[in-house]
């Protein structure tokens, strides 16, 4: 494995500076965003690297639990922040956190215990990267699914209410919309699976190969991860869309768009 030093990373960082310079020259209004995103990325990853080093050395379930919890809450917050019209109050973050907790934690623990079987089962070298990959992908699915749901209900509220007026139940009134939301949430995962290996080499596999792992072993891990991502994203998105749908109708099955926050 070729080790990277500060000089190598500084050279790579020149690309960020170059992008910012280009954005400035073209008056894109993105210069500050590019520089902030680049700096933020470096600081976040360095901090994570330090934290992971400590956690990897200690192999302590409490510490791993705390890190997993922080990752989950941040993912819940990010999934809410990416929605234009989100549920008011704690519902938006709450639904995201619950959906991701149920799907990603279940899949991660099952994978650790049943498939990978490290000793102890929570070995952070396996547990944290697995959870991170699942959270990242499920977060996108949940955010896209919920964003599509609230936007579509907002735009099509008259059609939904027309169905309610005709005696449709709330479930019947949102059947088509719910299907669309699930599709929206799963498209990135479906695209990634369809393109895997042909259009793009997935990030984790690329990382393993760069770190010196044999390609066939890296591929096996990538297949495992892709299957886990599909399962967690489908479960998480379905849960989030279902609960948010229910929340947007009250006990008398009235469409309650007043429970959405204005963008």
């Amino acid at each position: 494995m070729i080790l990277l030093g500060p000089l190598e990373l500084a050279l790579a960082a020149l690309l960020v500076l170059g992008s910012a310079a280009l954005a400035f020259a073209l008056r894109l209004g993105l210069t500050a965003s590019l520089l902030i995103a680049g700096t933020r990325m470096v600081v976040q990853l360095l901090l994570v690297g330090l934290i992971l080093k400590v956690v990897f050395d200690r192999v302590d379930l409490t510490w791993i639990g705390i890190i997993a919890l922080v990752m989950l809450i941040v993912a819940g917050y990010e999934s809410a922040a990416r929605q234009k019209r989100r549920l008011a109050g704690a519902w938006s973050i709450g639904i995201g956190v619950a959906a991701m907790f149920l799907s990603t934690f279940t899949v991660t623990v099952l994978t650790l215990v049943v498939i990978l079987g490290p000793s102890p089962w929570y070995t952070p070298q396996y547990a944290i990267p697995l959870l991170g990959m699942l959270l990242g992908n499920t977060m996108t699915g949940v955010a896209l699914g919920l964003d599509r749901l609230t936007q579509t209900l907002w735009v099509q509220r008259d059609a939904v209410e027309a169905r309610l007026m005709l005696g449709h139940t709330w479930r019947e009134a949102v059947t088509d919309i719910r299907r669309d939301c699930m599709r929206a949430g799963l498209i990135p995962t479906l695209n990634a699976m369809a393109a895997a290996g042909i259009v793009s080499l997935p990030g984790m596999m690329t990382g393993q190969i760069l770190a010196g792992a044999p390609p066939v072993e890296a591929v096996k891990y990538q297949i495992l991860i892709m299957c886990l991502i599909m399962g967690a994203t489908t479960g998480g998105t379905a849960f989030a869309v279902q609960v948010a749908c229910r929340r947007l109708f009250d006990a008398r099955e009235r469409l309650r768009l007043d429970r959405l926050r204005a963008p």
């Binding site: 027309a162 169905r163 309610l164």
Partner: protein
């Protein structure tokens, strides 16, 4: 005799309107006028249990809360001023195609049933929306300016079809309109909603929004 009433509304309040009390006998048509923004459409929505409200609403003695919301809305059917559609073709919105005589009564060509909704005029869509509602055999019809998008001939066809439906099914009708002539043609009683209250509409005064 509350049980003999087709629709019974007591102490209905919603969004600064009310309390509203009204009742409809079987086969009765009550026309409701009043200035724009007075809350006429919201009153219909509250009766159909589409908006949050306080008060008691009953159909043939059964309150809304005693029924599943979907069952209540099948009994107390509402037609909005603008019809809405969610599938591509007209017939996809009907469990069974409407009877030929119903189509004929509204001068609708049967071939239009297989047409895309987007190809229909707003008037055709509104007439199909009425047939879609009547297919549920509601016992109370809440009509929110049902003929606002129709030419005079088609407006008369709709009025006749609803009169026939009232007679044959014993249904009661609450009809919101801005057209005083129409209200006199269709209604047994006429009320105005203004200042958040229902008031009698005197025969000598316009009951709709028409210029005085």
């Amino acid at each position: 005799m509350t049980e003999a009433r087709q629709l019974d509304v007591e102490g209905l309040r919603f969004g600064g309107v009310g309390p509203v009390d009204l009742w409809l006998a079987p086969r009765e048509c009550l026309a409701l006028g009043g200035p724009s923004g007075a809350g006429k459409s919201r009153l219909l929505r509250a009766i159909a249990d589409l908006d949050v409200h306080e008060g008691r609403v009953a159909c043939q003695g059964t309150t809304a809360e005693a029924l599943e919301p979907s069952e209540w809305r099948r009994r107390v059917g509402m037609l909005a001023a603008d019809s809405r559609w969610w599938r591509d073709r007209v017939d996809e919105h009907f469990a069974a195609p409407p009877a030929g005589e119903m189509l004929e009564a509204l001068a609708l060509d049967e071939a239009l049933l297989r047409a895309p909704v987007a190809k229909l005029s707003s008037g055709e869509r509104q007439r199909f929306a009425l047939l879609r509602l009547l297919a549920n055999h509601p016992r109370v019809l809440l009509l929110d300016e049902p003929t606002a998008n129709l030419d005079p001939d088609n407006a008369l066809r709709v009025e006749h079809l609803i009169a026939d439906y009232r007679r044959s099914e014993g249904a009661a009708v609450l009809w919101v309109s801005h057209d005083p002539q129409q209200m006199r043609r269709v209604a047994d009683r006429r009320l105005r909603l203004e200042g958040g209250r229902l008031v009698q509409a005197p025969d000598t005064e316009p009951i709709g929004d028409a210029p005085r």
